[in-house]
Symmetry: C2
Subunit: 423 residues, 2 copies
């Protein structure tokens, strides 16, 4: 009998976890991603704010797979990686069509995550800077550094102020950490590199549509975050929406126009659904509707996990964080093995270990069970947890050394502007 | 009296040295570069071969200047940096026109280095990969890794072989170190990441027009290098020229056509002369003719150094290495100060400390005075010397750790393919 083949699309937290959980099963596993690296998304904001080298938080998928499988890998690789862009999935023929080749599957796991959604705001897609992936974060780093360089040459005070005004759209965890990251960056030794520039005049604006920050956390922690960021000099607009973005300004729905050369977009996301041969039921934010077992509603051999899927009926409110995708990955691997043994798949249940968010400048917030903490301790916990989960010993060592360098010496190491035309 | 202003164009080894030597002079110095970082060129080949992060060998110019000037910098910056592209130099009006602004000078130092020259070979500019700057080296890294990925998916054996054939054009120090770097890369743990790929079938070809490698070294060392690289599996063509490069093949002047998807160009360079208001005398390779004092022949307040200049009458044969540019930078700084004191500039004399070249795989060659060495010792010396000269303590520590990681564990850390469309 032919070994059943499992094809996994997407090597984010969820997809990679499925591959890891299946590594010692002896099944024929093929993991497809359009990048040759896995991105450790929680640290992207540190790439965007000149703190970490992109290489530290992006790990070669092949090396991760090799380590899962141990020494047997060399002789009998059961888990393969395919660097390709998926073009279309045919549920009837059970084929994944990529730009290079077509792959037949017995079981399919869709884990293609989410992409930025600009919520219909005019100009946002063209002029705002998202930070959802590695290339976008590097691009934003180049933008922030370029604005400082251009401002230091600019004689017109209005244009200079515009270059030194950074607007962050969205007051969730990503918006808050970006605000803290930019503040840390500009308060550090970087300041000394621009002696002719008054970095006190930098305006950092955070626009949030809701009535408080960090809506996924208890109110008290959102209020703490608001106070902390305000104290650090961030101008926060609550209950405010962005109505337009231009290369020079951001327009708010309260008719205010803020001259701001850089608009950082953290406000919306939607599921990144691959093209399929048949219509599949879609929930809010474009997510695929799945059973509690994580199977697609009409295809029992196709699973969808992470930011891509919405469970219905939904007994567990999910918020799109890495632990959910990881736990779903484990569940899917078990369910596929159950199906292969003729058993029925089991529903996913999420074990919530708690939730952490980093503000920056030695502050964070956390909620573990009924405990709520603010300040230095959750900040340290955030760093420690992310260091532990980061793939690769070398990356961990280098990130640790870089953090010591950054937080003890106040310096930022990564400051190249490699412009688009350069590469 | 107005403080005289010295404008330096180019922040390579030469230009930066002029700025450093003038840092404590109290003169008004403006350093212009089109990048915001100084590139440590000798280690570019390690960026191209997945060994070092680009950030380690590219250092922010502003930070270097700040460190030159010490604590006074914050209050009274005398050395400024301008991130701009020079468009035209007007010797009569004494103005440097950039894409952003125009700067008047009293003294001008041109240190814009060299650029790749394709020697009229058809297709070379379009399809060959140069490694002369940081962006080009990153691009070449992406190319080498992409070829491995594509080869591992390829079913046609001819196309697979073509993807696995790398041709290096040029047998000077850069060509030799690239050959060694690629060999090291493919022999290390990277191999294990491609279990389905037979990396034994990789062909690495080095094409050299002259009758031996490393012509800038004594013959014995060139012969050693030839033997060493041949033993490592490099196919070396001496007395051979490339006549055409296509996306799929390289054509040699002996009528041989080698199917090779990647052609690495290290064969030619020419001076990167900025546009000027008046014609200036040019020597071979487009270099500016300068007096032994390094002044332009018709403009006593304009100096040219490094790869940009050719000294006439020429008592010292120069070969375009960093120590020459550094020593010329010191000379120029002194000559400008002499001119300001009403004294006449002195001719440049080069103190040759010796010459090192790295082959890779624990081998190098060196010539110091009449001593010639080959093997492990010059390899270690090469690494040590370049570690010492690398700017920044953090970069030095991280490069040292990376080398220990690479050479002790045989692994390569930097393996992202960030494609052009990504950034």
């Amino acid at each position: 009998m032919k070994t059943p083949r499992i094809v996994i699309v997407g090597a984010g937290f969820g997809g990679l976890q499925v591959a890891q959980s299946l590594a010692s099963s002896g099944l024929d596993v093929c993991l497809i991603d359009r990048h040759n690296y896995h991105t450790f998304v929680p640290l992207l904001y540190q790439v965007a704010t000149s703190q970490l080298e992109p290489e530290y938080i992006a790990y070669p998928i092949r090396t991760i797979l090799r380590r899962f499988s141990g020494k047997r890998y060399q002789k009998q690789p059961k888990t393969r990686f395919l660097w390709a862009e998926v073009q279309r999935i045919d549920f009837t023929a059970q084929i994944v069509q990529t730009d290079g080749c077509a792959i037949a599957y017995d079981f399919l796991v869709l884990a293609t995550g989410s992409k930025t959604q600009y919520l219909g705001v005019t100009g946002a897609a063209e002029y705002a800077f998202p930070i959802g992936n590695l290339a976008a974060s590097v691009r934003l780093r180049h933008r922030i550094l370029s604005c400082l360089e251009l401002a230091s040459q600019e004689l017109d005070p209005d244009i200079r102020q515009q270059l030194l005004t950074f607007t962050i759209v969205g007051g969730g965890a990503t918006g808050v950490e970006m605000a803290g990251g930019v503040i840390e960056m500009l308060r550090g030794k970087l300041r000394r590199d621009y002696p002719t520039l008054d970095l006190q005049s930098v305006r950092l604006i955070l626009v949030q549509s809701g009535d408080r920050l960090l809506r996924e956390f208890p109110e008290k922690l959102g209020v703490y975050t608001y106070k902390k960021l305000t104290k650090l000099g961030v101008e926060i607009y609550l209950k405010t929406r962005v109505s337009q973005v231009t290369p020079a300004s951001v327009y708010l729905d309260n008719k205010e126009v803020i001259p701001s050369a850089t608009v950082i977009w953290t406000a919306g996301s939607e599921a990144n659904v691959p093209q399929t041969s048949q219509e599949i039921p879609i929930a809010k934010k474009g997510k695929l509707l799945v059973h509690p077992t994580l199977q697609l509603q009409e295809h029992s051999n196709v699973y969808a996990i992470g930011d891509l899927s919405h469970i219905e009926p939904n007994h567990i409110p999910l918020s799109g964080v890495a632990p959910e995708a990881l736990q779903q990955g484990v569940r899917v691997a078990r369910n596929i093995q159950r199906q292969l043994r003729g058993k029925s798949p089991q529903p996913f249940s999420y074990f919530n270990k708690g939730r952490l968010a980093i503000i920056g400048c030695y502050s964070g917030v956390c909620k573990i069970g009924n405990f709520e903490l603010t300040g230095l301790l959750p900040w340290l916990m955030w760093l420690a947890v992310h260091l532990i989960y980061l793939p690769g010993y070398r990356s961990r060592l280098f990130v640790l050394l870089t953090w010591l360098y950054t937080y003890l010496l106040g310096d930022r190491a990564v400051r190249l502007i490699l412009t688009i035309s350069d590469i």
